[in-house]
């Protein structure tokens, strides 16, 4: 709660995200310029500090942290072409340094830009917070106080209600479970610290090391759960893999309905990686078409292959393409084995080329259930036959229920993910401390941090939980 009173830097999408052509994102606070500098590349090459006050500046939003594992191979990713407006304190709505970014990428890109801003040091604004700051900094007068308070009240209650509602039953249950573990470990340690002659900590860390690791794993899983929300908002990173000339680029084109990739029948045409976004219904696919994977002596192509493997590692979904007429071979099986932990759909392409009475060495059904253990589909990129079925299959694979892509989902997800990641960091601190043989009284600092952070997700505060818990569970004192 304390951070609500900081003069930290806040950001939010100011337009309604109703699908209008242009959206405005506002950043306000001490670090507004710094944050903007880390994501904006002006056409003029000027830093924010060098821009004139109230100037409108043309440039690009870039994701400089894109694929940090592979910085040598990939340049920073340009997210959108934008106009940026600089308003220096006190000449702004909040009387703080303010940056406003007009972007025109629609919902997905706008959210992506916001995500970048949050990653670079701003925090998501509370409902009504810009107005609150405007008031606190004397921008609007006292008579407006009541209105502001109403906004805070209405929205924070709503936000809390929403956030609690939006937590799926199972997620909430899991958080409650983890918190229970955290407080019971903490209470044990604290009870022992307060009453060392009655309660011993001997062997405590050895006994609980695994449990801390379990908690970290659970938290990691939860963070991943919220990545489903990310997939919803930012798209499913999809990688098309397969042996050369299996029909990967033609599948991409079929999904895109346009001739984007160079499709030839010479194996190894696609040397670079193509990125495209496909939207069908509520599902967004960020598709990466890779060079065909094969052992190759060609150096340029070799780079492409390495990169394909890298992309595959980072993908949420792999569409593994096999030429139905060639059938599945050992190389395919080898690659499929390598990516066995990934969500994969095996696509048997070129069904149009299949002879009438076609007997194929291995049919799709067999390959799917027997040899590879993956979901499989037979289709033709050329005729479009089976493409709709593929889309339905992807949808089912990622979203079992209905999709509710509203603004509130983003807000709570972003916040929840921040909190979950922070709790995970705390637990990792605990694990490290245990490894370093740090004494138990230090562990509770991070355990309680995690407990408190998780409490914010389910709307529970700490208050006197710990003391109550110690008294309840432990027989203390004289």
């Amino acid at each position: 709660m304390l951070d609500r009173f900081n003069n930290d830097t806040i950001a939010a999408i100011c337009t309604g995200l109703t699908g209008s052509g242009i959206n405005i994102i506002r950043i306000s606070g001490e670090k507004a310029f710094e944050v903007a500098d880390s994501i904006f590349v002006g056409k003029s090459g000027k830093k924010i500090a060098e821009m004139r006050n109230f100037s409108v500046n043309y440039g690009y939003i870039v994701d400089k942290s894109y694929n940090v594992d592979n910085v040598d191979n990939l340049s920073e990713e340009t997210v959108d072409e934008v106009l940026l407006m600089k308003m220096q304190a006190p000449h702004s709505y909040t009387k703080e340094d303010v940056i406003e970014i007009d972007c025109h990428g629609g919902i997905i890109v706008t959210k992506k830009i916001l995500g970048l801003i949050l990653k670079n040091g701003a925090r998501l604004a509370e409902p009504g917070e810009f107005t609150k700051r405007a008031f606190l900094n004397g921008r609007i007068d006292l008579s407006q106080a009541e209105a502001v308070i109403d906004i805070i009240n209405a929205k924070s209650n709503l936000a809390l209600k929403n956030s609690v509602q939006q937590l799926k039953g199972s997620v909430k249950k899991k958080i409650v479970e983890i918190r229970e573990k955290l407080i019971s470990k903490t209470a044990y340690i604290e009870a022992a610290l307060d009453d060392p002659e009655h309660i011993s900590l001997e062997g405590f860390t050895e006994e609980n090391k695994n449990e801390f690791e379990e908690i970290a794993k659970d938290l990691k899983k939860l963070v991943d759960t919220f990545d489903e929300g990310r997939l919803l908002n930012e798209g499913i990173n999809t990688c098309i893999l397969g042996l050369p000339n299996a029909g990967k680029s033609s599948l991409l084109n079929a999904l895109l309905n346009e001739e984007r990739a160079i499709v030839t029948d010479i194996a190894g045409t696609t040397r670079d990686i193509l990125r495209e976004t496909v939207v069908f219904g509520d599902v967004v696919l960020n598709i990466i078409d890779t060079a065909g994977i094969r052992d190759t002596g060609d150096i340029i192509e070799k780079i492409g292959v390495d990169r394909a493997k890298k992309e595959a590692e980072n993908a949420d979904l792999i569409l593994y393409v096999i030429d139905l007429n060639e059938g599945i071979n050992n190389k395919d099986l080898e690659i499929l084995e390598e990516i066995k932990d990934k969500k994969t759909i095996v696509v048997y392409n070129k069904s149009d080329l299949l002879p009438e009475n076609g007997s194929v060495s291995l049919n799709a059904e067999n390959a799917g259930n027997g040899s590879t253990g993956k979901t499989a589909i037979t289709l033709s990129s050329k005729t479009g036959e089976g493409i709709e079925e593929l889309k339905t299959m992807i949808k089912t694979l990622f979203y079992s229920g209905s999709i509710n892509n509203s603004e509130d989902v983003l807000i709570t997800n972003e916040r929840h993910r921040e909190l979950l990641s922070s709790a995970l960091r705390s637990i990792n601190n605990v694990i490290n401390a245990v490894q370093d043989n740090v004494s138990e009284d230090f562990l509770t600092i991070d355990l309680m941090d995690a407990y408190e952070t998780l409490g914010k997700i389910i709307g529970e505060s700490v208050e006197d939980d710990l003391a109550d818990r110690i008294f309840k569970d432990f027989c203390m004192g004289k």
Binding site: N6, K132, A145, E146, I149, S156, E440, C475
Partner: protein, 646 residues
């Protein structure tokens, strides 16, 4: 009759009263301290020790402010032990067994020989106040009329102008400090026996409660208890484990050194309850006044009676029992862990079921004690009543428990009564200043429903609030108010300077991969160096310390051990410490947002009803304090901040 005028009247000469009275008198105020028995000054009616986890911190803080408790236990301890030494420095806690009689006598001697201080054996029955419109200049004594009390008129300010004893005599004074401990309408109970007395059969104070209620003070009833005392000669110590004191004594007072305090120490003894003990208790539980409802007071959860432990923790097949000497003057032994209010015959069987106590002869029975105390949320953090100018309250009468908690409040109440009369700024320690700050903030902010005991887990910044650095944290306050000598203060300033300079030097001194360095690291089981490294970085390694790397630190200046310890801790735990310092900065921001005493919460729109009621009742002094009131949500705080335009 009406006695001569005093500046301050302290009601009670227990651990809170002694510190309060000494603080006032030492700060130059004409002070009188009342006690129901001069022979019971600074009496220890329960456990025969001072300190312990988190309580030890309080004692050292009291000492750093210029209080007496630390020096007094240093004079009179018969065993000393640092607890939790296998844990981090923040939870190291000092505890000393006291010779109870010596402790009491030594404190009495201090009181009796302090200038400006009068000790008077009498029971205060009434707090006298004058009511004035706006300002309080009148000097006429006015007895409180209990029937026509009008507390609702806001323009009327009550101000203390004297106290009246049961004998009907009046002592005019400008401020009074309630330090009545467990004596208000005290009742001691075991089985169906109940005595209307204070501890050890001392007279209870039966009149003052009515006066407090008449003043509009919310009075509550709490309960605590004490175990039996057993004749040493009837105990078979061969069936128990001996518990020794530490060889090297760490003094409570920063004025003393280990060498000053060397002396022969006595042992304590450890034994356990067993199934037989528990069976006796279970079979007779219906005869316990706690379970039958004969005791109405609320008891502390952390200090449960043995019957409470057995019933609530049924799965435990044994409980520890420590046998502690009450002093060198007596054969009485304190049976720690077995407080009880069961009938005498059950107590007898129960104690005798414990190994080593088979032939135990009880000298004094265990008993529970019920008493009246106030609701401390009616106090400012200065420990002055919000509604009665000049009236302060400290110690167990505020709903706390423990000698140390009492002393800590006593010194703060004493200092603030003095600051008020002298027209100087009050002393309010906050949660980042010390355990005293945590203790008082909790008492005046959270409505505790049981006697409050200090615990290290209550101190959120405990890494900074160590018992070893209380002097560095608090000497400046003790010196500012005038309780701590200039000499002692300057010593602390110099200590801090040495620490800072040495840390700076260690951060800027590197060692290379020379032979002697590698050899030392190897012998200490530390990873080899491949390039140069600063001494500070070496000290941070878990297996090394400031002390162990001394052989390779050629230019180390001569630094005494306690100062060196600070350097070691500051460097070793720098990561955690700097995290807490950041948290403290956040915390301070909210503490600095002050709320005026006359702030009208009814004017704030949109506060939830529960929050509004709580805020009106507790009248927090800052947004920070407001945020810690249970029932006040972050949204309410936002509303407040916005309304007050902070």
């Amino acid at each position: 009759m009406i006695y001569e005028d005093y500046d301050v009247a302290v009601i009670g000469a227990g651990h809170a009263g002694c510190e309060a009275a000494l603080a006032c008198a030492r700060l130059g105020l004409k002070t009188i301290v009342f006690t129901v028995s001069v022979d019971s000054i600074a009496m220890m009616p329960c456990n025969p020790n001072i300190g312990g986890t988190s309580k030890g911190h309080l004692v050292r803080e009291v000492d750093a402010l210029g209080g007496e408790m630390g020096k007094n236990i240093d004079r009179t301890f018969i065993q000393s032990k640092m607890l939790n030494t296998s844990k981090g420095p923040a939870v190291h806690s000092l505890r000393a067994q006291a010779d109870k009689k010596e402790y009491s006598a030594s404190m009495r001697k201090i009181l009796e020989n302090t200038d400006n201080l009068t000790v008077r054996q009498d029971e205060v029955a009434e707090i006298l106040v004058e009511e004035c419109q706006g300002s309080c200049n009148g000097t006429e004594l006015k007895t409180q009329n209990t029937e026509n009390e009008n507390n609702t008129d806001k323009s009327v300010i009550k101000k203390v102008n004297g106290v009246k004893t049961t004998s009907g005599n009046t002592y005019p004074c400008k401020a009074a400090i309630i330090c009545t401990g467990v004596y208000l309408k005290a009742r001691c109970i075991y089985g169906d026996v109940s005595h209307y007395t204070g501890p050890n059969g001392l007279p209870a104070a039966n009149s003052l409660t009515a006066s407090l209620i008449a003043l509009g003070i919310d009075v509550r009833r709490f309960k605590t208890g004490t175990p039996a005392r057993i004749d040493k000669r009837s105990i078979d110590f061969s069936k128990m484990e001996e518990q020794f004191g530490d060889e090297k004594i760490v003094p409570f007072s920063f004025e003393n050194t280990s060498e000053d305090l060397e002396r022969d120490q006595v042992s304590c003894w450890l034994t356990y309850t067993n199934e037989e003990t528990h069976k006796i208790i279970r079979e007779n539980i219906d005869r316990s006044p706690l379970f039958s409802g004969a005791i109405e007071g609320v008891g502390p959860r952390y200090c449960p009676s043995i019957e409470d432990k057995v019933m609530r923790f049924a799965d435990k097949d044994r409980h520890q029992v420590f046998i502690e000497p009450e002093g060198n003057y007596t054969n009485e032994m304190y049976i720690s862990g077995m407080s009880s209010s069961l009938p005498e015959d059950v107590q007898y069987q129960m104690y005798r079921s414990v190994p080593g106590l088979e032939n135990a002869k009880i000298v004094r029975n265990a008993y529970a004690i019920e008493y009246d105390c106030i609701n401390a949320t009616e106090l400012y953090p200065t420990l002055e009543f919000k509604n009665i100018s000049g009236l302060f309250s400290a110690g167990q009468s505020n709903g706390s428990s423990g000698y140390e908690e009492a002393a800590a409040q006593g010194i703060i109440a004493g200092i603030n009564a003095a600051m008020k009369l002298k027209g100087e700024d009050p002393l309010v320690l906050d949660r980042s200043d010390g355990y005293i700050g945590v203790l008082i903030d909790d008492l005046v902010t959270k409505e505790t429903s049981e006697p409050y005991r200090m615990m290290t887990s209550r101190a959120e910044y405990r890494l900074l609030l160590r018992q070893d650095n209380a002097d560095l944290r608090l000497s400046k306050y003790g010196y500012r108010v005038g309780l701590l000598s200039k000499e002692r203060y300057e010593k602390t300033v110099e200590k801090q300077r040495i620490i800072d300079a040495e840390i700076e030097r260690l951060k800027n001194t590197s060692v290379g991969t020379s032979e002697n360095v590698l050899e030392l690291l190897k012998s200490l089981g530390s990873t080899e160096l491949t390039s140069g490294i600063t001494l500070a970085e070496l000290i941070r390694r878990p297996e090394l310390s400031y002390f162990s790397i001394a052989p390779i630190d050629k230019k180390r200046p001569e630094i005494d051990e306690t100062t060196a310890e600070q350097i070691n801790i500051e460097l070793k735990y720098e990561g955690y410490i700097s995290r807490q310092i950041k948290q403290v900065e956040q915390y301070k921001k909210l503490e600095k947002k002050k709320i005026p005493a006359d702030f009208d919460y009814d004017k704030v729109p949109s506060l939830r009803i529960e929050a509004r009621q709580k805020l009106k009742k507790i009248k927090p002094v800052s947004i920070g304090q407001a945020s810690r009131i249970s029932g006040v949500s972050p949204a309410d705080i936002n509303v407040l901040v916005v309304f007050m335009k902070m």
